[in-house]
Amino acid sequence: MNDGKVGVFLSDCGNVLSEVLDFNALVKYVKEVSGVVLVERSSEFWRGEGLQAIIDSIEGGKINRVVVAEGLPKLSEVNIVQAVEEAGLNPYLVEVIDLKDHCAWPHREAPSEATEKAKVMLLAAIERAKLLEPIEKLEFPALKSALVIGGGIAGMQAAVDLADLGFEVNLVEKAPFLGGLAARAGRFFPTDDCAICIQSPASDVKTITHTSRKCVYRSGLSEIRNLNILTNSTVTGVEGVPGNYKVTIEKKPRYVDELKCVRCDLCAGVCPVEVPDEYNAKLRTRKAVYMNIPNVHPPVYVIDESVCKFQDCAKCVDVCPTGAIELEQKSEQTTLSVGSIIVATGFQEFDSSIIKEYHYGDYPDVITNLELARMIDGFGPTGGAIVRPSDRKPAKKIVMIQCVGSRDRRYNPYCSSICCMVSLKHATLIKSNYPGTDITICYIDIRTTGREHEDYYERAREMGIKFVKGRPTEILRDSGTNRLIVDVEDTLLRRFLELDADMVVLAPAMVPADGTRELAEILGLELDEDGFFKEYNAKLRPTETKLRGIYICGGVTFPKDAPTTSLHAHSAAIKSAKFLTTGKIVKDQRTAIVNEEYCGDCEFCSVTCPYGAVSLVQTSEEHFVARVSDLLCEGCGVCVGTCPLNAIELRHSRPNQMLAQMGALMSANGTGKPLILAICCSECGHTAVDSAGMAMLQYPANVRVMKVPCAGILQVHQFLEAFKAGAQGVMVVGCKSDGCHYEVGSENAGKKVELAKLLLKEYGIEPERLGMFNMVFIEGDRFADAARTMTERLKGLGPLKLAGVS
């Protein structure tokens, strides 16, 4: 664009910068640059009179490109850009640079060198500004409805929050009843109240009195009009984009009409099929037509189709007083349109039978914590009695084993975080109900990190529960008496113990629920190495995923206790509500665009894009081209760096813009030291340069900084271009590879740098002239250090000899 009329606004930050930089020389220099029609100097331009000067010159039609040199640009830029937009100019035609932290402060010991650097920084900004093009803001519609997957504590709480806020909510649960793992837990710490109650999806709108909690069966969950509960249902497909997802749901037949069933239990009374009740730890049997426990939700019987004899029996049909039983029901597929999705599918117990030496599944008196919880639950199969499954006699000697499959590199390397508390809760509950019970807990470390959690440990010791620090090697069974023997070393006493037990309770690891991997695939999200869903950012965005509109909460990200799960669920609900509330998604078009003429449909971009924003579209019989979704694209440029044919560009970081900047930054030296181009990502890399300046750490002025959205945008040939432009060395500064703001950018850049080093060698250029550096914002010292080291290294190497370039 040759008609750029650039206005340059130089802030001297209340004249403090002029102690280092020669502003008269800068003004004089800038005035000579072609395209510059206005140069102003003031103490600040991001507010007050300074900002008004920018507005006036835009409104007066004097300028159509704005370059501002201002302190703290990451904050001041927001004000400037907003004002520019209000003044009627496209806000993306602004370039803000930082002469303070990027030049005056880090080079204050060499003022003349700093001034020379400031000149080329301004030149680079002007050259880039001239090439900038207007960027449009786009609006996408978002449906005001949500899907919540998983009907445990997390899912129910999130669903009710969203429903109370007025959104249409669909809550999908795979099992025939709501409650999930939580409902089976009997009682919860830290209050020891019943698990079935604490899952309190009480609608604030429906509840007249605000009580501390409401039980699931009297919460009126099903009475919330805008909450559609789908039990016995699974999500089988998700298509579409944030704000507009098409979700396919398969609803298995219940064979009982939810509207007609009156819970009279006559059907179960006549049902001849009796099977072990999995829900109740197989400690009792149930019929083919059943409810888990009397107070479940929905309060409707269900027929287990895997065991029911259907028309060969049909006794229940005859006996049902309301005609609720419908044996001819079929699976139904429904499609829902939702704007946002919350994943709350939780966790489950690890299968302890894999650990052969503990004989779970083999010895009936070896049980898990969840099975013990069913015994403790008054609604459970034993009515609260603690018995040996083998003969139903009271279990008087109990040994508990912690970390079964947790902290175990053969199975799950992580600490499952809640099992210590679960075991302490169980042990103290049993001990207070049956004080004569002898309980020993074998542990590696006891971890009680929450509020009031340590009290459990203390109380357990006071109650006489014994603790053995040691992990048992094996559970043996006396063939004569059938009693269990736990073989363990008390590592504190250095003594081998053979603990005699009626019953052994394992504290298994908590692992992602069955189906988590399949669901992740359906949603297009990745799991961490342990199989849990990955947060977008564990500390600041703990319920978000890399896909806008899809949120995660509860045990699906990691094992959690009930209080933490509730917190997580409310957080996910508010994030989802924030996303849905305006009914639209506003996004600017600083996105990638494909030159379809060059595209060779290699698929590299669509595979690399962390956001699934690039897809291949068929244009003719045999030809496909890549196309970018402006809604999904986050503007990182990782696709640009991957494209072998240079067919993709970012609208706001075009190669010609970068080249112009490079050329300008390398156009003059003035330091006598070898010129270095530091290409910094806009996230951690560029801010690390800021923090070096803020801390006034000194590094030589021959280091010139160029900002790119993400280091992943860089292509190998761009390093060569930098050398051709006059750089003696090139630094690539990105986020830590596991902390890249765009998932894979930093890692990709690192690979690109290694590849480029090989090529440089071919061209006779020392590979040491190129280096990748990873740092975070606060590591300004690392940047300064890297800049100094690189300068010294290049001094040692001597001038660059480039074939074909003088």
């Binding site: 030496e357 970390c403 902290r407 175990d408 590199r409 053969r410 590696i444 470390d445 620090k469 040691g470 992990r471 048992p472 090697t473 094996e474 073989d487 363990v488 070393e489 008390d490 590592t491 250095r494 081998f496």
Partner: protein, 171 residues
């Protein structure tokens, strides 16, 4: 035990020495749960051997105590501990690593120096008695062949095995 003093006198690099040895790489993963000890058939019958304790002592840098003692030679290499270790510490292999370090330093139990000289003499660690040789045909076994001990000696000499000497003061 005067902890501070002992740590000072102990070699602080010993865990690194063990880690650098074949078989010793995983030693620092140990979190002292005792699964190894309760899995160990030797530890059950003698207090002189406890794999968990040997690992702890090694990690504390108690080099001399570990390599000059008898304990490391008592492992029967059943690998039960290694199978069951939740941290994938290669306990039995660590015992070999410790033995190798000890052997090099001259801490060699009598039985092992007998093995060594037997190996150098005729290529077998167990000397075959005439009685055993006579019984072989009755068990359907062929007569023993010469071991090619000359080639073996070359290898043992190239690796420095024949130079390994027992420390005078150990027995």
């Amino acid at each position: 035990m005067g902890f501070g003093k002992d740590v000072k006198s102990a070699s602080l690099t010993f865990p690194n020495v063990v880690r650098s040895r074949l078989g010793g790489e995983t030693i620092s993963l140990c979190y002292q749960c005792g699964t190894c000890a309760s899995s160990c058939p030797v530890a059950k019958i003698t207090a002189s051997f406890n794999p968990r304790e040997l690992i702890k002592l090694s990690l504390l840098g108690e080099r001399d105590e570990v390599i000059s003692g008898d304990a490391i030679w008592l492992c029967c290499s059943c690998y039960n501990c290694q199978e069951r270790c939740p941290q994938k510490v290669e306990i039995a292999d660590i015992m070999y690593a410790l033995r190798n370090i000890a052997f090099k330093e001259g801490y060699i139990p009598d039985i092992y120096s007998e093995f060594a000289s037997a190996l150098l003499d005729d290529g077998r660690i167990v000397r075959v008695s005439r009685f055993m040789e006579k019984r072989r045909p009755s068990l359907g076994l062929p007569p023993l062949q010469p071991t090619g001990v000359d080639d073996l000696r070359k290898i043992l000499s190239a690796t420095g095995f024949d130079k390994l000497q027992k420390k005078e003061e150990t027995s």
